[in-house]
């Protein structure tokens, strides 16, 4: 254009590209907990299925990785893999202990295209470790979203009867007096959640806490609204 007209032009255009959308779903035994109603794992299933479905609707390639202490199932992102993703989501069984470091490292090594990666877990780990594991994906140029799923009993600790509490993942039993430990528990949990939120947001990683007592559509809508606002700002 400059040769013909000897004038500079700026050409603007918009183009839609097909992105990879990969769901990383924690299926450790701690996810198989429900104080009442739906369990965390089921809640995570619905969330993963919804997000995969939405992504496929906008022609993204969808895939899923289920993890515990290692990768359990891996469906690479593809335009044709929605059914497989849904099948994996439907058939998965909880098991193993939760750990993000090893599986996320392997995922980072396995993905070569920049992807949107949604990590769904209860994040029972030190916040620094969580950030370290997630940052590997982030540093490879992926758009990483972290969804923490918690049962209301894990937040409020409403128990009133002294009993032995059994860790779902390790099987360890501890005598607990909830009335005496409730306040301390809540404080520790709040500190944990605050630290996670602070670290992830500071590192430009989207973080959202889902409470299984709240309807999934409501939680999802809140998240997407916030994501849309953030997108406009960028």
């Amino acid at each position: 254009m400059f040769g013909r007209t000897d004038r500079y032009y700026v050409k603007e255009f918009e183009a839609d590209t097909n992105a990879n959308f990969l769901v990383v779903l924690d299926i450790s035994r701690s996810m198989d907990y429900a104080s009442e109603g739906i369990s965390k794992l089921d809640y995570a299933r619905y969330l993963a299925a919804c997000m995969s479905h939405f992504s496929r609707q906008q022609r993204d390639r969808v895939g899923i990785v289920t993890i515990a202490e290692d990768i359990v199932d891996f469906v690479p992102p593809s335009a044709k893999h929605l059914d497989m993703v849904l099948h994996v989501i439907d058939r998965l069984e909880p098991g193993g202990q939760g750990s993000l470091s090893v599986p996320l490292l392997k995922i980072a090594e396995a993905t070569h295209r920049r992807s949107i990666i949604a990590v769904i877990s209860d994040l029972y780990d030190d916040p620094e470790n969580v950030l370290r594991a997630v940052s590997i994906l982030k540093n490879k140029g992926n758009d990483v979203l972290v969804f923490q799923i918690l049962d209301p009993a894990e937040i409020n600790f409403p128990f009133d009867q002294a009993a032995h509490f059994e860790d779902l993942e390790s099987g360890e039993r501890i005598p607990v007096v909830p009335e005496r430990q409730r306040e301390q528990y809540r404080e520790l949990m709040n500190n944990h959640l605050s630290e996670l939120s602070r670290l992830l947001i500071e590192n430009r990683i989207d973080y959202f806490l889902f409470d299984t007592s709240k309807p999934l559509d409501h939680a999802l809508f809140s998240y997407l609204s916030r994501r849309e606002k953030a997108g406009r700002l960028r």
């Binding site: 009133d160 860790d167 607990v176 430990q181």
Partner: protein, 693 residues
């Protein structure tokens, strides 16, 4: 003023307060573990050491404890003291008469303790202006306290009250109560009758009507089902075999319960040792008899007891009796000089038969009668023989004057002319020549004095026919002053005349006993007739093998004590069955002793040197063993005065504790209070739980 409880045993349930305490102090650990996603925030803390140290919610604890107490108190069936209620209801002063039944039937089960409790409650309820009198009654009524407002005096009287062995009689107690009520100056009066309402003690014809306006309150202590077996009689039948005297004991039992008693062991105890035991079956509401095997009677009084059953009224399960050795009547038959060998055949034969009493008969010719032959005799029969003269005659007169008996038969050999001069004056009738009645079949006896002991036995029809005897001759008799004609012939002549000579009796029979002038000797009535004559002349009284409690015994009539031979300053010591001693002083004319309790009384001379003694057996009145209860309303209707309109003048309040408790129904309020407390506790605890969460 205060509470009492019908079922205080339930108060032990207060221990249930420990339950909320335990709940508060020990937070029990759940047995199953609670699964939790991660315990990274849960610290390990041993919790028991902390939890058991203190009660956290005092309000909840107090509410739970109070609820438990209320429930327990409700089950214990509380009641406000009845008399307290009365005081609250009526403020005016009253005259209170408490009639406490202490008859033997009150010993059944716990009746007596319940009666004492009811009496105490009544006394506790008297107001400051009230006045009360306590009357104990059985067959008689005794006011054990004067009308008083002092509870201490009344309580002391209650403490001293004891059961008696007497029978129930309501009449005297009600009469005494009426007298007190009639004399009172109090505006109100109330009679409280505390009894088991034994039906046998109530005679409507002797009902005492209280003054108009007097309240009549009953405390009914009867039991719906009162089972009682009683031994009510033990008859002693004497037999003699081989020169040894034996006794056969026949016992009688009654069963006043509604259930048949089978195979009840009845034992015969002689002098403290069980010698026989047999089983007896008694139908419900029926009676039964049992005969034990003969027991040998030694020559001394024997104490016997028949014992059977083991029920709530034990006093009538034993029956006491005494078997006295036989004491024969010593009879001397005096025959005329020309008597044949069988002159007294019929008399001897008749008197040789008999065991109650036996007769010891000796026969002497009047010509051979020595002074010593008369001594020691109870009865002398001049069988067609004249009065002996000389020393024998004087001894005979002395014998009669000292209480002995003389029977004179005026036969063919006994005209007045053969009698020593002046001796016929000892007879109650003068006599003369014989009266011929051979023509026309002979005379008969047309009048007999059945009120006299000699003929009393023949009083009832078909108990002896004297009219069959034919009298062909008899001597004309003219009754003297002070004499009594006991029998007359059909022509009006005296046949048997009785007179007194000193302390003794003289009977004159106008004919003979030989079957010569008459045929009475071959008539069936001859044997009992002669027995009755001799027993009467000897002053014989059949010894009582037992007596009834409440009976007053005249010790002067007890043969063993030989009252007429006692020294003037002698004192009798009466030892009761339970050890209480009573001293009787015959010198002061007090020969009487009252038998107050069942068992054996031992009577002896106080002091040393005289071993005369007697044993008396006393038994409860069988009437008291019948525990059938009277309908109290029947008594109330007869005792309470009615107004002209026919309505009861005084309110009738049944102070039975059960009725009072039912009427007050305090348990309902207690349970309602407990329910409200538990509801409030639930609300508060939920609120506390929510706040904690």
């Amino acid at each position: 003023m205060g509470f009492s409880f019908l079922a205080p045993v339930f108060l032990a349930g207060v221990a249930a307060i420990a339950i909320p305490i335990i709940i508060h102090l020990t937070h029990r650990e759940r047995k199953e573990a609670i699964a939790f996603p991660s315990l990274m925030f849960v610290r390990k803390i041993p919790y028991r050491t902390v939890r058991r140290q203190k009660i956290r919610h005092w309000l909840l604890f107090l509410m739970r404890s109070l609820a438990v107490i209320l429930v327990v108190a409700a089950f214990a069936r509380p009641l406000l003291d009845s008399s307290t209620q009365a005081v609250a209801a009526f403020s005016t002063a009253r005259e209170l008469v408490i009639l406490l039944d202490r008859s033997h039937s009150m010993a059944y089960g716990d009746r007596w303790s319940r009666a004492v409790d009811a009496t105490r409650r009544t006394v506790n309820g008297i107001g400051p202006d009230d006045r009360a009198t306590l009357i104990l009654f059985a067959e008689r009524a005794d006011a054990v306290s004067q009308p008083t407002a002092d509870r201490a005096v009344l309580q002391a009287a209650i403490d001293a009250a004891e059961l008696s062995s007497g029978v129930t009689r309501y009449g005297p107690a009600l009469q005494l109560a009426r007298e007190i009520v009639e004399r009172t100056d109090r505006p109100r009066s109330e009679v409280v009758l505390i009894s088991d309402f034994q039906k046998s003690g109530w005679d409507p014809r002797q009902a005492v009507r209280l003054p108009e306006g007097a309240e009549f309150t009953i405390v009914n202590l009867s039991d719906a089902e009162a089972a009682n077996l009683a031994v009510i009689d033990a008859a002693v039948l004497r037999t003699r075999s081989g020169g040894r005297e034996s006794a056969i004991i026949s016992a009688r039992f009654i069963n006043s319960s509604g259930m048949a008693l089978e195979d009840v062991r009845a034992s015969l105890i002689i002098d403290g040792q069980a010698v026989q035991e047999q089983a007896v079956n008694v139908e419900a509401g029926g009676s039964a008899s049992l005969q034990f095997a003969p027991v040998v009677v030694p020559g001394r009084p024997v104490r016997g007891v028949v014992r059977a059953g083991d029920d709530a009224l034990s006093g009538d399960n034993s029956f006491h009796f005494v078997i006295e050795p036989e004491q024969p009547i010593r009879v001397l038959i005096v025959e005329p000089r020309a008597a044949g060998p069988d002159h007294s055949l019929f008399l001897r034969r008749a008197l040789s038969i008999g065991s109650r009493p036996g007769f010891e008969v000796e026969v002497r010719r009047v010509t051979r009668l020595g002074p010593g032959d008369v001594d020691g005799r109870s009865v002398v029969i001049l069988n067609d023989a004249p009065f002996p003269d000389g020393e024998a005659g004087r001894r005979l007169r002395a014998l009669v004057e000292d209480g002995g008996g003389l029977l004179v038969a005026l036969g063919r050999r006994n005209p007045p002319g053969v009698w020593p001069e002046g001796s016929t004056a000892l007879l109650p009738a003068s006599f003369g020549g014989p009266v011929e009645r051979a023509s026309g079949g002979g005379g008969t006896l047309s009048y007999l004095d059945y009120d006299h002991p000699v003929f009393n036995l023949f009083r009832t029809p078909r108990s002896g026919d004297f009219s069959a005897a034919r009298f062909f001759r008899y001597r004309m008799m003219q009754s003297g002053e002070g004499s009594r004609e006991l029998a007359r012939f059909d022509d009006g002549d005296a046949a048997l005349v009785e007179g007194r000579l000193g302390a003794g009796a003289v009977l004159v029979w106008a004919s003979d006993f030989e079957n010569f002038w008459n045929d009475l000797a071959v008539q069936p009535v001859f044997l009992p007739f002669t027995h009755e004559i001799v027993k009467h002349l000897a002053g014989y009284r059949e010894p009582d093998s037992w007596m009834a409690v409440g009976q007053v015994v005249d010790l002067s009539l007890v043969p063993e004590l030989a009252a007429d031979e006692l020294p003037e300053d002698a004192e009798l010591l009466v030892a009761g069955p339970t050890g209480g001693n009573t001293v009787i002083s015959p010198a002061e004319d007090s020969w009487y002793v009252r038998l107050d309790e069942p068992g054996f009384y031992e009577v002896g001379l106080a002091g040393d040197g005289d071993d005369r003694s007697a044993v008396l057996a006393a038994n409860l009145d069988p009437v008291e063993s019948d525990l059938t209860a009277l309908d109290p309303e029947e008594m109330v209707g007869a005792v309470v005065a009615r107004t002209e309109a026919g309505a009861a003048a005084a309110p009738i309040i049944t102070l039975s504790a059960e009725d009072l408790e039912r009427r007050q129904a305090l348990w309902w309020y207690l349970l309602a209070g407990a329910a409200v407390l538990l509801l409030a506790e639930t609300l508060i605890s939920n609120r506390v739980t929510r706040a904690t969460n």
